[in-house]
Subunit: 207 residues, 2 copies
């Protein structure tokens, strides 16, 4: 059975988007500073249908995050904000399950990406993603709320944080409202480059 994992860029002060995020500005004010490390990479450019880019350890790590992924889970807001910029050939190329309160019909895009809307909870979303993924991994793509829900429910196996040397000061925090959950992590790997530090943790059983 594949792992359930999340890969996400975060500022040193814990934000995954700046303030006033919305359809016009999905990453919020200053939020693009979190992702500066990724745009120049060969692996990211290839995933988005672009040529060239930097072939580095950062590029390998970005590629690795998607390598064995057989299905993606995401929150509804992430879908709403991404749908237009992703265009006809979104960068997922696997079945994507969108957690929502409003059921709607499946969307089939080019390049292997489909969007299935799940309105009966995160466990159902995960079950459907597992079926689609087979032996491969399941990526929780975001946003913060989707990752928090799977982490709190004890359903997340691994989390990799791409820590940007940036202070955003406000916005959406990745870790919020975790009172009393006492989640234990085990560091699996740390890789750093001048523009980002990749922190990979296994989520352990509760204390």
């Amino acid at each position: 059975m594949g792992k359930v994992k999340a890969d996400i860029s975060m500022s040193l002060d814990g934000y995954i988007a700046g303030p006033n995020a919305g359809p016009e500005q999905p990453l919020g004010e200053g939020g693009e500073r979190l992702h500066q490390w990724v745009y120049r990479l060969e692996s990211w450019r290839e995933q988005h249908g672009l040529e060239g880019g930097e072939a580095s350890r950062d590029s390998e790590i970005q590629e690795e995050a998607f390598r064995n992924v057989g299905a993606v889970l995401m929150g509804r807001r992430m879908f709403d904000e991404g749908e237009e910029p992703w265009g006809d050939n979104p960068p997922f190329h696997v079945p994507v399950f969108v957690l929502t309160h409003n059921p709607r019909e499946k969307l089939v895009k080019e390049g292997g990406t489909t969007f299935t809307f799940v309105s009966d909870g995160i466990e159902s979303g995960l079950r459907q993603a597992r079926e689609a993924a087979g032996e491969r991994d399941i990526a929780i793509a975001g946003g913060a709320s989707a990752i928090q829900q799977y982490l709190k429910a004890g359903l997340l196996d691994e989390i990799q944080i791409h820590l940007a040397p940036v202070l955003l000061g406000a916005g959406n925090r990745l870790f919020d409202g975790f009172n009393d959950e006492h989640i234990e992590l085990e560091r699996l790997r740390v890789v750093d480059s001048p523009t980002v530090t990749h922190l990979k943790y296994r989520v352990c059983e509760r204390a």
Copy 2:
């Protein structure tokens, strides 16, 4: 002229103390989990008058944080909470300047530690610490509020975060209330071990 620097242990969710910190429990609930990495180290034990311990890269880094320090600055709450546990021979062994609203007489302890109470602002505290330190560095020992004030005022040169693979869920956040400051950091060094990741940044000029 020496550097102004801060060295502090932080949880992955950004806390430097757990909830309900107070004189009885200076690190708050669960806050000792942030410092597990340090108690077993040779350098920490030596600093606290104890023998033995682990001679590792973590130990070197902990020792390095104090090596060239000629004076320490701290907030009043940290002093209040530390005074008793630190005892007659506190672990600083240099002049310490305590930021407070209530002036009081200088305290002279054993082993080279003195506590001078500064009630006319953080710039005055830094000026007095610089005089005491000469060419050596100045350490902002904490708490979060003291570090925040020096960082916001553009007076901090370096910050090293000892990132513990722990989620505290609540407590005192190191980075809070930084709206609009747009502080830029430059990663100087990342060192990791199974129990902690040391992230060292230079604080750059404002954008």
